[in-house]
Symmetry: D3
Subunit: 319 residues, 6 copies
């Protein structure tokens, strides 16, 4: 039996944000958290009871240690993190806006330790301890070494019998669409489950239409067995082999939207691991909605709370 | 003339809650307040200018003293609190959710000093100073001694010429419905004014239907002259002898819903004391709505603010 | 070329408010900010890249210095502030309510240094450095000396070739409508651009009807070339010579509404300075909407953010 | 038997201070408390179990109500406060310095409701409910009406059989020494127990020397039976009829020194009420020392904690 | 090779304390942390690079989960925690005083899940994964089941070849000295390394004198090979077989003294594990001193910082 | 007459620090300030009433703007800041320790916009507006371009008739001693007033002995007319031409020591500008002491407060 249900890697950053809806120029304290797409998904999977490992490359200073302890705090194994005396911790600043003021994200992640990762410094045999590998395009975007590491990870995983999921997670502040398309396309042959936000489909792959059509199109183009298209107000559409699947978004009041997609992915992977992508979509919708209500990148809820939302038992005071 | 318009007793707890919409597992500071159904109602009545006394049994430690000073701070007489070197202060933790995440309440009130109350340690002659006694089913649920104290209080009050109000306030985490029904039913013969949330009517008494029907049904079943049914999105329905009364809910943005029912009760009792339950319902609706907008259990508003809401003069900035 | 695009003066106060939606009676910390209609407009104009000066009369103590440094911090010139060893800093307390609880403002500004201003202590020749003077009725309301200073400022400005804008900004806690009408009317002959909230038109001038009709009526009555009527749910209506202009309100979630009108005025003056009041109205609508989303009196946003809202590019996360 | 052991009156202000050792010009939140010499002493006496009443004249707004509820919260009767729709609440700003930076106090108390007090609006018959009246020179300094009220209060008290204590409490920001000497001297014939800080003895009465000599001198000059001289690093010296008394200061780490003298006075009055000024001095030294360790103006400790310090059982962790 | 250097178990509680030096009765927020003697020592050992496991019995609610995640966050293995749906999380309130005001601890730990532990529910075979077991008298004091579990743990450990350390850690609020003596004495035959504060030696065992004499006396009385006597202003004295050892206290400014003894123990155990108790004492002194400077129960420092203090390289700014 | 008394340039960073004495790994909010040696000195000079300009190269993002507005807020001219769309804002994290825990500074300033400064992008003619230029070795350490800019600035200043001061301000985390010696030595021929901490004299120049001897030695070696040696517990020693000067340190309780040297430099430059270095040393000692008592890098005090400390009028409460 595998030690870990899911293993993932990527860059988790220091997250600095003004309290409430304040502006960076005006406030004099900041909320001091951490977050990254892959660790967000890892933590959400751990809340569902999954055994999960996350690794990365971190600087051996208080900021690097903070990132590791924050991820480890929620029950995710961090024992394979690569520690380095060089480089810095990536940082992102975020201002949480409300309509019509947008959320503003300022990345300060150049030359981070994570971005210096190269495939040769990883002991790929650790993947044998796991059933599934989760990756995102953000990591591929960080550097050539990171892109190579993502590609190598996917190949190693498949060779060792793991299934592989991948979220395109396009970030225009990190790389241009053409480069994203080229790099991601080279990874997809090793991918079993592809997550693609609607906007990414358009910007990176030039694919438009209903989410269901996009899913089918990506499945055919890249030969990925299961494709999930997220980011539509109508909900999530998926194609799993021959089956078309759909899950509605659950209405939620937004406290902090960062990590909502990552939480949704966790729910979907949870179902995928049980061979039931349809149930996974339902978990995903509940988890993405719940994440909107929780401050920070991480989905700090219980499995019971998730299932209560799936079963519509929301609202009211429990006492 | 009576010294107090209203006297009430029950357990007021320490209330600990994460700031904003945080989770207990994740935050490192807590808002530190106090609250309890009876003292909440007492405070709201004091804001209306009523002379009110609240008593309870409290441990003689900083937490017990905090409870007494927080209630006393808002002008409620606490001179008859029974102090004990034994027992603890009841505590409740609450996480304020937003849709679809529920509010979660965690009671840590077992073996509280208040739950050790017995009728024999109370000097019931103090009731002679008051016109009206207010009770709730929460106190009855705490222990046999508390239940006996509630029953005794109701009898003593009626014997001394006070009117008595009672809110069923069913809490599933405290007792089963059958026990609640039995204990509450034995108190109702002494009650002049019964508050019953719609859900309680169903769960405790097995009564469904429109709020108006429920009110009428409870009036007939238990012989309580006035019955108020709360907790419906349509508003509050009441029956006062032969008259059917109704008050619409007032739309409000929710900051903190805890204590909204208690504040509404205060408004209704306020009218009841003046022999005008219809006006009481109007006060109650305004006060329940206003409570939703105020952090904490207590309704910290002025009588003018309440009456402004009753008279629809809401919205805008006063300057 | 002028050193300043806009110069303005008035009273900026210390602003004390409970965090969140707390009540003054209950909280034990206060947010400590500053704000005043004219400096709010000045700061918003500086965010658009305009060169702006604000002056006032301030006590030479930490509160007076705080007011000057807070205004100066956002790039507004404060070098002509008149410092006095006498008098106090005006203070206002504000409780931010949510429906149905109103915002409550408590002025504690009597005998402020600003209210002791008299025309004779001002060196009016400084106006020659500017293109435009902005005034409000709040300053006129503070004292006879202030009213005389406002009137004198308008005359001096016109004599020196500046254009003049004036916002009636009626405050019922400061003066009665009749006095406001009389004092304001005497200033209007020197005004090129009048801002009048719908409610002020009714209360002060007894003018009702659609905003467009009110604007036209005020233009004709007072001979002011351009009149802007604000404060309608339908948006802002203006008349500029022969042209009727209109700008819709932009939907926004309210974090802090104080200063929204002042921010809107800044946008309109920005257009007026370019001879394009229509574009000014569009800036104004975006700026008034954005101000609702920013804590405090001041509009701390970038010109790019304003223009993004004007161009409907709102919503979402930028990363 | 008297209802109150001690009654006192004076101005209690809103107290606003930067958190920690911040500067008003730099911080953006303020600690929001209340404090005044007489209510500080009243609260400290209530902590010792004394029945105490404090009254004042307060504006009927949230700040006035806050002052009353803050004093009442600690068990001091406030039922005789005179409420007025006019005037303002006095405010003081304080910056807590550390060596060599001084504490800086900025009074903003001109035209406070309390300063408009006149003897004619007081129902002096209430004094009959009490055994002892405590007064301070701060109140005398506020206005002619306040000075007259203090003088009248002392006379009424003596006529009704109460004993009277008075603390000179000279504040150079409120009145000049000559006026203080004249006004205070006229009250002293009615005083049984005089508190005089060493510095006040010098500045107001021109008396120098050891504290013991000063006490003796003031006793003889003004014919006050008991005189306590505070404010010396050597401790407190007193003369009680023929007896010379002395109490050493207790070493303490300073968290907040405001109210330390008021707390010390409470201990001394406590002993005086029992006819044991020597024990009172020991209470006073412990209470003055403990006040230094507690944030805010008020001495929030238990009688047991005070007596533990008197008995040298300080230090360590109790668990 | 063993998986863990040290394993320990005991009760870790929720820790609630007023910010700064505030009083529970007066503040309205609390710092929300966790702490317990054994987990404090475990965390300090993990900071030194030791592999450490801590287990306990915790309620499956947010407070129980918080305790586990806070301990796990610092790299301590918590996988053998026993989760139960019953019972509560122990809580302690602490007020941090400054001289002459004592720290006040209020335990609210009765009926905690941890206190219901019995030897039969533990899988003692897990001890085989470790080299050393650390215990304290606090756990023995909680209940008969806990005392039996401590005794059993010590026996099982020795039978499996582990060394055992034990800190008497007497708490007068938990049990009387006679009972402590009897229970602890029965455990000592299995103990290799005894920690005994000077005060405990006196109160529990009736042993006085210099720390060195006490250590020698306890060694002889109980046949424990190594005894460390802490809690003297002169420093720590120990006897290790025939050798007398001593380490001076390191002067420190106190930020939070809770857990200082636990941190010191960790340093001593660290040396003990390497067969070098003398070096352990030096680590212990540095760690106990550093703990005084860090808020909360846990010693959050690096090994480098500890060794810098051991090597006197303290003070100054590193930049 | 010159527009500015002093002009300075250098890198001002974002400063992030845990509240109180917390650790980065443990806290979840950070104090968010700015600071840099040159702007610290500029702000302190502005508090003395000097006209001061500071410039730098800043990224045009919220962090860059925050730095500019924080410096500008305290009355320092920032109109010559060079804005760039490239690069990042330098950041430093600081943990404020207490004995024996050191302050720990973590620089995250690589590739900052400021470090990309080159002499060719500066309009050196602006120096003509000033009387004096202040520089530090920190700026020289940032990059070759910065070192060249510092050297060029000193030459341009002297050519234009300004006097020049220079603080070696050696930072071992930025450059090795040999490089520092070489670069700094090449600037000194243009310097009129050299500040050199004792430790720098040893590490960079290999000069030891009393501060007075060091000052004399540096004066002779480098031909700098006036040399001030700081950083000794005995106080500051200086040589001004033929005169030996000395100023004792003023005892202070430390709240935040960062910027104390910069504040002291400001006082010394203030005297130097008046041709009275002796008085400058006295200002410097008072300002360095006061800075220790103020949170943040900046000396937010008044000239009166500084002079009160110079005149020993410290301690006590002013009211």
């Amino acid at each position: 039996m595998s030690k870990f249900d899911v293993v993932t890697f990527g860059e988790t950053m220091i997250r600095l944000s003004p309290p409430g809806h304040g502006r960076l120029e005006a406030v004099d304290t900041l909320d001091f958290r951490t977050g990254g797409s892959e660790s967000n998904t890892a933590i959400a999977l751990a809340r569902l009871g999954r055994q999960v490992a996350w690794w990365s490359k971190l600087p051996n200073n208080p900021l690097g240690r903070k990132i590791a302890t924050q991820v480890g705090r929620w029950g995710v194994d961090t024992s394979h993190v690569i520690w380095t005396p060089h480089g810095r911790a990536g940082v992102y600043f975020i201002e949480l806006g409300v309509m019509p003021r947008r959320h503003e994200v300022y990345y300060d992640r150049a030359d981070s330790a994570a971005s210096t990762l190269s495939p040769s410094e990883v002991d790929w045999s650790h993947l044998e301890q796991a059933r599934h590998l989760h990756l995102t395009g953000i990591t591929s975007a960080l550097s050539a070494g990171c892109a190579a590491s993502v590609a190598r990870a996917a190949q190693e995983a498949r060779a060792k019998g793991l299934s592989v999921s991948f979220d395109t997670n396009y970030r225009r502040k990190l790389w241009p669409p053409g480069q994203a398309k080229s790099v991601i396309s080279s990874v997809l042959p090793s991918v079993n489950l592809l997550f693609c936000p609607r906007d990414d489909a358009d910007i990176v792959f030039g694919v438009k239409g209903t989410s269901a059509r996009i899913a089918r199109h990506l499945q055919q183009t890249f030969g990925v067995p299961a494709v999930v298209v997220t980011g539509s107000p109508d909900g999530v559409a998926a194609v799993d082999g021959e089956r078309d699947l759909h899950s509605r978004n659950i209405r939620a009041m937004e406290v902090d939207r960062i990590g909502s997609g990552d939480a949704g992915n966790a729910g979907i992977i949870h179902g995928f691991l049980d061979g039931d992508l349809a149930t996974g979509l339902r978990y995903g919708s509940a988890m993405a909605a719940l994440k909107l209500t929780v401050p920070g990148d991480e989905l700090i809820v219980t499995k019971q709370e998730i299932e209560a939302v799936m079963n519509c038992a929301a609202g009211g005071v429990q006492r």
